[in-house]
């Protein structure tokens, strides 16, 4: 693809994820097919070798995450993607990679669950993503784009971010964003890290001793309790810093709002219509859209006006984010859920009517 930044092109989400990753410096992709993200795997299979990279179709998601572990340990900028049940299979690997402090960019194009669920869109991987499905104390920064353009922008910087924090970075994009089309602009390709520069720029990588006076060791096994405790505290110093630096959100019209919506990803696009429907009825509605789900943007909730009567958490799950919303408002406002599950996307009218009825309870 020879597109320059200024030109608008029409892309499907899954294609855009691949192109943005390559332009952001990704040169290695490991994956295993699963709907609704297959066009991405196909895109990487077709494009990555043309751009000096390598594509591997693994024999399973468990194999894929462990191959990514290996590529990252050797200093490569590696990208893996899957959808909900496939990401579930990768959780052990993600825990190991967090402990080993390796950069991997992970994309989850979420579908309905639990179990094999459905191939229709869902947001029920919120807990899996933000709490971690693997064992032990660790965190993964999670970003939830609400458009293809925003997905491109986040993926473009995700590889540098993962390198900086020496930690996986996850993008949680629901099936709608993977499958929809959108006119977008693509950023200029970044120069990927040359193999010869890895020993210098990633001194921790297993790249041979070279000019170094030591061998790098990558591991997650620490049998001495004292060693492991020191290591976990070291990780949490890093996470504390990440919580300060990686918070991202959009907030609109929180002053004077009678009702405030909290939503992420596709749901936030629907909510933006709902806010206007309230305005048409002369009711002021505000909105908070967490972009970083971990760290959760608690500071946004400090801006909610005391006049607000109720906060609505609009989600495509049974209220997984609502628990974070409740913690963030600390009892200052009632928090209620408006949701659909099973792969069903509510209409703006449905969210409007349900939340108007809820607002009526607090008038």
């Amino acid at each position: 693809m020879e597109t320059m930044i200024s030109e608008r092109v029409l892309l499907k989400g899954n294609e855009a994820f691949g192109e943005a990753a390559i332009r952001g410096g990704c040169r290695y992709y490991v994956g295993y097919p699963i709907t609704p993200q297959n066009e991405l795997t196909e895109y990487m299979a077709r494009e990555l070798s043309k751009r000096g990279g390598a594509f591997v179709q693994a024999e399973s998601e468990v194999a894929a995450i462990n191959m990514a572990y290996g590529v990252a340990a050797a200093g490569g900028n590696v990208f893996i993607s899957s959808s909900s049940p496939g990401i579930a299979l990768m959780q052990e690997g993600l825990s190991f990679i967090c402990s080993a402090e390796l950069p991997v960019v992970v994309l989850n194009v979420t579908r309905g669950g639990p179990g094999i669920g459905s191939i229709q869109p869902g947001q029920a991987d919120y807990n899996q993503a933000t709490r971690g499905g693997g064992n032990g104390d660790y965190h993964i920064p999670v970003f939830a784009p609400a458009s293809i353009q925003e997905s491109i922008d986040i993926l473009y910087e995700a590889f540098a971010m993962a390198d900086h924090w020496r930690n996986p970075v996850m993008i949680l994009a629901d099936g709608v964003i993977g499958q929809m089309m959108e006119p977008v602009s693509l950023p200029e390709p970044k120069e990927p890290m040359a193999e010869k520069d890895i020993p210098l720029r990633k001194p921790w990588a297993i790249s041979g001793t070279g000019f170094k006076d030591h061998r790098s060791v990558v591991k997650s096994l620490r049998l001495q309790p004292q060693d492991l405790e020191v290591h976990v505290h070291h990780l949490f110093e890093k996470y504390d810093q990440a919580e300060k630096e990686l918070v991202r959100y959009d907030a609109h019209d929180l002053e004077d709002a009678e009702i405030v919506f909290v939503s992420f990803g596709t749901t936030a696009r629907i909510v933006s219509e709902v806010v206007e429907m309230f305005a048409d009825e002369g009711i002021k509605a505000g909105s908070i859209r967490p972009i970083s789900l971990w760290p959760f943007p608690e500071e946004a909730f400090q801006k909610i006006s005391p006049k607000t009567k109720v906060v609505i958490s609009a989600e495509l799950n049974m209220g997984q984010m609502m628990k974070d919303v409740k913690a963030a408002v600390s009892g200052r406002f009632p928090v209620r859920l408006v949701n659909r599950v099973g792969g069903i996307i509510p209409t703006s009218l449905e969210i409007f009517e349900k939340s108007r009825a809820i607002l009526g309870e607090y008038k």
Binding site: Q120, G175, Q179, M180, M181, S272
Partner: protein
């Protein structure tokens, strides 16, 4: 008006994301305005979302029979199979059939099983072209796609549909640019441009533009039936 008239069976192919489904839904609704018996056969077994069968109620409300890879009202399964009744539309000589074929050569392969209904001169295989899709942005790339589709479908493309758009950002300039692009493909492959698609709000402007420049675009005003309005909200 050039002497272009679509045949009874119109199958629509193209690169995935080129806008086949939106065209088919609009075209089938247009046909249903003038004919009693019309059908839409949804052969897209590749795409998990945004399939024309999702607008079954709208289509059936307009008197169009809808066939495809679904059983009763089940539309969300990912079944690479078709129900046998899809053939009935092809069998009935009185029915105008619009066929929404899946994207790319792999999607087009499914047409093969209906080969006996595609007699030379009695069908149209129209390829949708959107110049704003990077994979079909040059004449060479677009023709390569058409070649691959023809090879897998075992059928010759009989015409082009200029569907150069950027969804709700589409301008008259996009349609014009796409038309001239399709003219180049048309000249190389010696097949006509059947339609230029255009968002409904721009159709009148495009018609006037055509009169000024002496171009008969054969405008197909396209309403975005498949696209929820919130998909175009800036988050």
């Amino acid at each position: 008006m050039r002497p272009i008239e679509e045949k009874r069976i119109v199958a629509v192919v193209g690169h995935f994301g080129s806008g086949k489904t939106e065209f088919c839904v609009n075209f089938a609704l247009e046909r249903a305005k003038h004919h009693k018996n019309t059908a839409l056969v949804d052969l897209d077994i590749a795409n998990p979302y945004f399939r024309s069968r999702e607008r079954r109620d709208l289509l059936e409300g307009a008197g169009i029979k809808v066939y495809g890879s679904f059983y009763k009202r089940e539309i969300a399964a990912e079944l690479p199979a078709l129900t046998a009744d899809a053939r009935s539309a092809f069998e009935d000589d009185e029915t105008l059939v619009t066929v929404d074929v899946g994207g790319d050569a792999s999607g087009a392969m499914i047409v093969v099983q209906f080969y006996r209904y595609f007699t030379a001169g009695e069908y149209d295989l129209l390829c949708v072209v959107n110049k704003n899709r990077p994979e079909t942005a040059t004449v060479e790339k677009a023709i390569r796609y058409i070649d691959e589709i023809e090879l897998k479908a075992g059928l010759k493309t009989t015409g082009l549909i200029n569907n150069t758009h950027l969804l709700r950002e589409t301008t008259i300039g996009d349609v014009e640019k796409g038309y001239h692009f399709c003219q180049e493909i048309s000249a190389k492959l010696d097949i006509p441009i059947h339609f230029s698609c255009c968002p409904v709000p721009l159709a009148e402007d495009l018609r006037r533009r055509g009169e000024e420049t002496g171009i008969d675009y054969r405008i197909m005003p396209v309403a975005l039936y498949m696209r929820e309005t919130w998909l175009d909200r800036k988050p």
